[in-house]
């Protein structure tokens, strides 16, 4: 045994309590980049037929992504489109001159997308045209320059342009998802906070630990994540800059430090602290570090969420005997009960237009995801599991992603708010939970 090995063995035996061994395992396996795979489980019935023809490539060029396939998968995931399988296409035109609109019309296509990928420097130029088949006319086109590694994101951008042209709503293919993964249990557990593209590709580990990580929350500019980590054997709130990896410990008071939520201007962080006895809601100014207490009640007040215009904070409170959603002004003050259906409503968050809330609700003992229309006071169920939780709106408000159990294992699921588009997002092994959909990204 070398001196170094002996020294290492000594260190492991004499210094490391079991908790630190758990942490070290985190170092070894935390960067394993298992990808979320997405399975569309419903929503194609009412979807619009569209043909996305494989893009032409200049001779000798072998792009590392199939741009048309990425666009087709993006559009299929929205639940609003049914892209035609490539094998059913009778022709594969790459320019408008080669298109026979009658053929595409007979195949039942409403829309047709053609495009080309050409070399440009060390990157590519990607052009596309979107056609209305019935009118035999072009309705959108663009040409985008990209680095070689940006080709997939370029395809997502094109998918979003097509989606917006045809639905009038911005697309979210070029956004990202933060989520927590867990492998193993107890002291041997590895928990990681990850961020991937909205289609599950390019997963990256933001932080990994042998102790619990919870409650990822995006800053409004999509550049930072707040989260709860137990790495010091107590829950504490960190804010981490994604580009640099730099992070700040922003709350580590006695008791719980949880439920971080950025204000719409990104300057303040609402959170739950129990330093004064009970879990109450506070707002921390991230610049001045000034902390203001918003609620003061003997029960549980937690899970604050800001309205998009910053005028209201909704939160969960059991002050009425069971957990329900309440709202209050962002500076604190009298709270108004928002949820009235059912005996358990929690973790509400606003839709991007501020007109509805998604929340966890208990129906006949089953925990499900609901969307509550604030103006009409109307609540609709979006999921049908038994332990569904952590709902998060997509930044265009069209979908909600949430955590659910599938065959006893924690996975993510998404569903269209207007129905349809349901899908499952899972990893080959381990649990996935607490999804948080990013804002629109520049």
């Amino acid at each position: 045994m070398s001196t170094a090995q002996r020294a290492a063995t000594f260190l492991v035996r004499s210094i490391l309590p079991p908790i630190l061994v758990g942490l070290l395992i985190g170092l070894g396996t935390g960067s394993a980049q298992a990808r979320l795979t997405i399975e569309v489980t419903g929503g194609v019935e009412a979807a619009q037929p569209i043909a996305i023809v494989p893009f032409g490539v200049s001779e000798g060029l072998i792009p590392k992504e199939d741009v048309a396939a990425v666009i087709a998968a993006d559009l299929a995931r929205t639940g609003k489109f049914r892209p035609m399988p490539t094998r059913d296409m009778l022709a594969m035109p790459t320019t408008q001159e080669e298109v026979d609109f009658r053929d595409w019309s007979l195949l039942g296509m409403n829309n047709l997308v053609l495009g080309q990928v050409e070399q440009e420097g060390t990157g590519y130029r990607v052009s596309f045209k979107l056609f209305d088949v019935f009118r035999s006319s072009e309705i959108a086109s663009d040409s985008l320059s990209t680095t070689a590694s940006g080709l997939r994101l370029t395809a997502h951008r094109i998918a979003d342009m097509i989606y917006e042209k045809l639905t009038g709503q911005p697309g979210v293919a070029a956004t990202r998802i933060a989520y927590i993964t867990a492998n193993g249990r107890g002291e041997g557990q590895t928990v990681a906070l990850r961020v991937s593209d909205a289609d599950g590709y390019n997963p990256q580990t933001i932080v990994s630990s042998g102790d619990p990580l919870m409650s990822p929350a995006w800053s409004p500019d999509g550049q930072r994540l707040a989260y709860v980590s137990f790495e010091n054997r107590r829950p504490a709130i960190y804010v981490q800059d994604l580009a640099s990896g730099r992070r700040d410990l922003v709350a580590s008071h006695p008791g719980i430090n949880g439920a971080p939520a950025f204000s719409p201007d990104g300057q303040r962080l609402a959170m739950t602290l129990s330093k004064d006895g009970n879990p109450n809601i506070y707002v921390l100014d991230l610049q001045t570090r000034e902390l203001k207490q918003l609620t003061d009640h003997f029960g549980i007040d937690t899970e604050p969420s800001w309205s998009p215009d910053g005028s209201t904070i909704v939160f969960t409170s059991d002050r009425g005997g069971s957990p329900q959603i309440y709202s209050m002004p962002p500076g604190g003050g009298p709270a108004t009960r928002v949820s009235f259906e059912g005996d358990y409503n929690a973790r509400a968050s606003y839709s991007p237009d501020g007109k509805s809330l998604t929340m966890v609700t208990r129906v006949n003992g089953q925990f499900r995801i609901a969307v509550h229309d604030l103006a009409r006071g109307y609540t609709r169920l979006l999921s049908n599991g038994g332990l569904d939780e952590s709902p998060s709106f997509s930044p265009n408000g069209a979908m909600v992603i949430y955590a659910t159990l599938h065959n006893g294992r924690g996975i993510l699921a998404a569903a269209g708010v207007e129905g349809g588009g349901s899908q499952r997002l899972s990893q080959d092994s381990g649990e996935v939970r607490e999804p948080a959909w990013s804002p629109m990204l520049k």
């Binding site: 170094a4 035996r13 210094i15 933001i206 992070r247 410990l249």
Partner: protein, 192 residues
């Protein structure tokens, strides 16, 4: 030009020496050095984020825990199965932090022991079952631990002998998704 979404730097491993990080940082640094030595690697870890990737494969998930020899040492009567203090768990009803009468004896025993041993300290770990939302459960675990703390202080323990910590639903003792598992997970553990 469209670049890809920015690649983030190598992930932080929580507890690694990072700015604003941890009380445990010096120990972790030592542990990292030990790891590096085991991995046959001579590079010293840098203390600034972003961190280089550290190859820790020789300490695999299978072998690492076994390499730690835990020598049993008698730390107190709570480790003796024939002693009433051995019973250190208080269970709760669903979505409740109300103390149930059958656990008053458990808490009294520990409060009396703390009252008689002023140098002894405990942490009360509050836990919940998986039903309901994670942050609500973190708060509920906190309230359960606080309810046990208040009772033990009233029964003779000093406030500074008792710390509380909520894990919410993050540390189930039974990972099942049924009432039997849930009832085991709704607990406060008195940790010496």
């Amino acid at each position: 030009m469209i670049p890809s979404h920015p690649r983030f730097p190598t992930p932080l491993s929580a507890g690694r020496p990072a700015p604003a990080a941890s009380l445990a940082a010096p120990t972790v640094l030592l542990a990292l050095l030990g790891l590096l030595a085991l991995a046959g690697c001579s590079t010293a870890p840098e203390s600034e984020a972003p961190q280089p990737q550290i190859d820790a494969r020789p300490l695999s998930q299978d072998t690492a825990p076994r390499s730690v020899e835990v020598r049993p040492t008698y730390r107190g009567p709570w480790e003796d199965p024939s002693n009433p203090l051995y019973n250190r768990i208080v269970y709760f009803d669903y979505d409740s932090s109300a103390i149930k009468p059958e656990y008053i004896g458990v808490m009294r025993n520990h409060a009396a022991y703390l009252g008689a041993n002023s140098g002894t300290r405990v942490t009360l770990d509050g836990n919940t079952d998986e039903r309901g939302t994670r942050e609500y459960n973190l708060a509920l675990g906190d309230q359960r631990a606080d309810a046990v703390r208040k009772f033990m202080v009233a029964e003779g323990a000093r406030p500074d002998q008792i710390a509380t910590l909520s894990y919410g639903e993050e540390r189930p003792t039974n990972p099942g998704h049924n009432e039997s598992a849930w009832s085991q997970n709704r607990r406060v553990v008195i940790q010496y």
